[in-house]
């Protein structure tokens, strides 16, 4: 018998499937993948080490840089972790504003995903539309926080400033606009035969193994599992808003994950509207912290988590009683999705589907390496 020959292909570090640099080393037989191995290390910035030498307030400016497409869950997690150890109360209005920011961040992350997912099958028009529309959300962020991508807005004790005058109206307007545009995206992407044929049945994750393998977020919900941190462990005021967690797409492939996200962006728009309706008009937005140079957090640890656009985003924060964090360890969904899970499910797939699968899992190198 002839010995089977395979070829090695290095996909990356630069390629269209993801936001950042990461390489997948593929062993291929023809164009079928026999073995995949993820290589990271192109984007390590050592944030966790940096935070050991910064005080609690300086660290807050670092955490948002951990994930480029969706920085706000980082800020919220870090703030909530510090508050939990210290026992600091957060004013009611600040918590509503945090929810508003988190949901706007989810919407812009999904709009970015629309671009990436469609570009990975060669449909570039949708990306140009959705990233153009994402700029309207970034405009809102710029007005609210001063930054378009990195906001540094949610900090321990509350948020940095109150909503500007007339901001609510502008959020309503942008939400109405994006909701209208989603129908156009549906026609372009979900009614498109190219995407339907390429996405269905590709990148299958066995549902009975999904939880054990550490799958979270939209890929887990696409297996038919009802799992969402906002429902399982409501933080801020998520127990006071109504939304549906999609557990009715069960095919567990790229197509089902796309449908889950398509459903969730509409839910996020609804949540934003509810938050704006329920938010109190007046009230403090920050429980003032003491002088940051002398601000000591009592010894203790806390694990806090948020539902980001890609799944459970956790922070393990440890304090040794000094004014510096002992350890801030980030649990990003991509750390599992992009390495062990990706290596498993790529086997048997086609080379041309790799970036599509990576995108549907929400692989994000900046958050894997921190």
């Amino acid at each position: 018998m002839r010995k089977q020959k395979t070829t090695t292909i290095y996909l990356g570090p630069q390629h269209p499937g993801i936001t950042g640099n990461m390489m997948v080393k593929l062993e291929v037989d023809g164009d079928t993948i026999v073995k995949a191995e993820t290589h990271i290390g192109y984007l390590h910035r050592g944030f966790e080490k940096l935070m050991e030498r910064r005080n609690w307030l300086q660290s807050f400016t670092i955490v948002c840089r951990i994930c480029v497409p969706e920085p706000d869950p980082n800020e919220e997690n870090y703030a909530r972790g510090v508050e939990e150890i210290e026992g600091r109360e957060v004013p009611e209005k600040a918590r509503w504003i945090r929810m508003l920011v988190l949901e706007l961040a989810r919407i812009q992350a999904y709009l970015l995903w629309y671009g990436g997912q469609s570009a990975s099958v060669g449909l570039y028009t949708i990306g140009q539309w959705s990233i153009g529309d994402r700029n309207y959300v970034l405009d809102l962020f710029e007005e609210l926080t001063g930054g378009r991508v990195y906001h540094m807005y949610i900090w321990p004790g509350g948020v940095r400033r109150d909503l500007p005058k007339g901001f609510k109206d502008r959020v309503y307007k942008v939400m109405d606009y994006i909701e209208k545009r989603l129908d156009d995206y549906d026609r372009l992407l979900f009614d498109n035969a190219i995407f339907q044929k390429r996405a269905q049945g590709v990148g299958y994750i066995p549902p009975e193994k999904a939880i054990e393998w550490g799958v979270v977020g939209p890929p887990l919900r696409a297996t038919g599992t009802k799992s969402d941190v906002r429902i399982d462990e409501p933080y801020e005021f998520y127990d006071q808003v109504e939304f549906v967690v999609p557990d009715f797409y069960k095919t567990s492939d790229v197509w089902a994950r796309a449908l889950v996200r398509r459903f969730e962006i509409r839910q996020a728009i609804n949540i934003v509207r509810q938050v704006l309706d329920k938010m109190p008009e007046k009230g403090p937005v920050w429980n003032k912290i003491p002088n940051p140079h002398k601000w000591r957090i009592p010894r203790g640890d806390a694990y806090v988590k948020t539902e980001s656009a890609r799944g459970e985003f956790g922070y393990y924060v440890v304090s040794d009683g000094s004014q510096f964090p002992r350890r801030v360890h980030v649990r990003g969904p991509a750390y599992v999705h992009g390495i062990t899970l990706l290596e498993k499910i790529l086997v048997g797939q086609n080379i041309s589907d790799v970036s599509m699968i990576m995108n549907s899992l929400g692989t994000c190198p900046p958050e894997m390496e921190r």
Binding site: H39, V216, Y316, V318, H329, I339
Partner: protein, 192 residues
């Protein structure tokens, strides 16, 4: 305040099964349970939690360097999808001889976490397969996430400052010198 019935029940079940092999059990708050065990018992505890009690999801493995107490603390964070409880299982590893059991046969994703800890803290996991290098490349110094790794010293020894900018190391002082201004007393304290 939610009642802590489920959390207390879990502690009781674990106490009955493991007796004095686990200690420091505490309910931190709603949905958070902490416990501590030894490196000999950690596999048994994790397997029991996963297979018998249904803590199927491994959220996270973290490592904290308590250098003054001469120990690494490994923290395994598990999640129960139905009971909705996070259990934080902690185990102390001797800092001078850091060896911990490899658990990637229980959860495959533990492999990545362990490789990162091997690289960043120098903890050995016997039987751990996978490339030696995860994030770092050609690293023969002290594992960098250890507390005694001096970042500044490493930078001074391995990198050069860009030439032509020798005067610009202290921005505030340089500006003051160029413009002839005096630095106020309160600002001197923070200038570096």
């Amino acid at each position: 305040m939610a009642d802590l019935q489920k959390e207390n029940l879990l502690l009781e079940v674990l106490k009955n099964h493991f007796n004095d092999k686990i200690f420091d059990l505490k309910v931190q708050r709603h949905q958070r349970v902490h416990l501590r065990t030894t490196t000999e018992q950690i596999e048994a505890v994790l397997l029991y939690l996963k297979e018998k009690l249904g803590y199927k999801h491994l959220s996270h493995i973290s490592c904290v360097d308590w250098i003054e107490e001469n120990r690494f603390e490994l923290v395994y964070i598990l999640w129960h999808p139905e009971d909705k409880i996070n259990v934080l299982v902690k185990v102390d590893v001797d800092r001078l001889n850091p060896v911990a059991p490899n658990i990637d046969y229980i959860w495959p994703q533990a492999n990545t976490y362990e490789r990162e800890m091997r690289e960043m803290f120098g903890i050995q996991f016997p039987g751990l397969v996978g490339r030696k290098e995860l994030i770092l490349e050609d690293w023969d110094d002290l594992p960098p996430m250890r507390r005694d790794f001096d970042t500044l010293q490493y930078v001074m020894e391995n990198f050069e400052f860009r030439s032509g900018r020798e005067d610009a190391q202290n921005v505030r002082e340089t500006i003051a010198k160029r413009t002839g201004e005096e630095i106020p007393e309160f600002a001197k304290k923070y200038s570096r």
